[in-house]
Amino acid sequence: MLKYDIENIGKDHPALLTGNFEACAVALCSGGASPWPLEIEWHDLTKRPAGTVGPETCELTWQASSKTCADKARKTYQPKRLTEDAAIGVCAVAFTALKEGTIDEVTAHGTGVDYWVDDQRAVLEISGIEKGDDAELKKRHKDRTSQLKGGSLFKKIKSGYVFVVAFGRKKAIFSYYNK
């Protein structure tokens, strides 16, 4: 089983201000009880052995001080923001744990926001669901994949990731596309 201390995402993704993402992720990971096992169903990742498929479980851990920050985040942010920021935090964990690269930039893109990996090697779509079953997770992943593939940045770079997490199910789908 993979293990990852969530306080390390700032070190592993130094271009992002990750404190908020850590706090929101801890808030949504079983209400802050460490450790928290996340099942990551991965598809076609670049650094996994050829011909292998997920899922793989990653155990997320954190210190008591992060639980305090998580409690503040829960009181500060509306549920949508909390879930979105938590998803970015958990996505950063998945990138490092599975050795896929570094999330290193955010860009505005029309009416939305895009994330970049490894100095614009690939574009990244991230989404999170606080509660929801496997069907909802799969549907969200499908929707975000369509969004990624339909976007002009993916069409230009031809390389992209989709990461969707369902906190209530402790499950994520993480996929890579290269056309």
Binding site: L16, L17, K80, V106, T107, A108, H109, D119, S152, K156
Partner: protein
């Protein structure tokens, strides 16, 4: 193959503008349009600085993002100037330019509340120094 090191100045600008964009997007989502507009302007300015520092491969994305930031801040003329530079590389820029067409820039309310909170965070995370913080707020009026 080892990764090519990135210019520390570019790295720092990427971190700063990423924080501004995320905060602006969050402000917009919670209906704080005035705070969002000023943050998007700052982010757009940083994207322009980044575009000037980056390679030809990376420059179009920074310019496109700058245009998007200015558009979301309702600064249509600045948006047009950034977007018209990338229509060949990113066709979607043409759609955003159509949105800007014939519109006057909206005044920025300049509440500075969103900016101050964010700058405090950046100082705390040691992304910028307290001196730069003072400078940023003074520049904001």
């Amino acid at each position: 193959m080892p990764k090519k090191p990135i210019d520390p100045k570019v790295e720092r600008l990427k971190a700063l503008k990423s924080a501004y964009i995320l905060e602006a997007d969050a402000s917009m989502a919670r209906g704080s349009d005035a705070a969002a507009m000023e943050l998007f302007v700052k982010a757009g300015e940083m994207e322009l600085q980044l575009a000037a520092l980056r390679s030809a491969r990376h420059r179009p994305v920074s310019l496109f993002s700058a245009g998007s930031c200015f558009l979301r801040a309702k600064q249509y003329r600045q948006a047009m100037r950034a977007l018209e530079q990338v229509v060949d590389e990113i066709p979607e820029a043409r759609e955003l330019m159509a949105v800007c067409e014939g519109k006057e820039d909206l005044p920025i309310a300049g509440t500075a509340a969103g900016l101050q909170a964010l700058v405090e965070l950046l100082v705390k995370r040691k992304v910028i120094t307290p001196d730069e913080w003072a400078g940023a707020l003074a520049a904001h009026g």
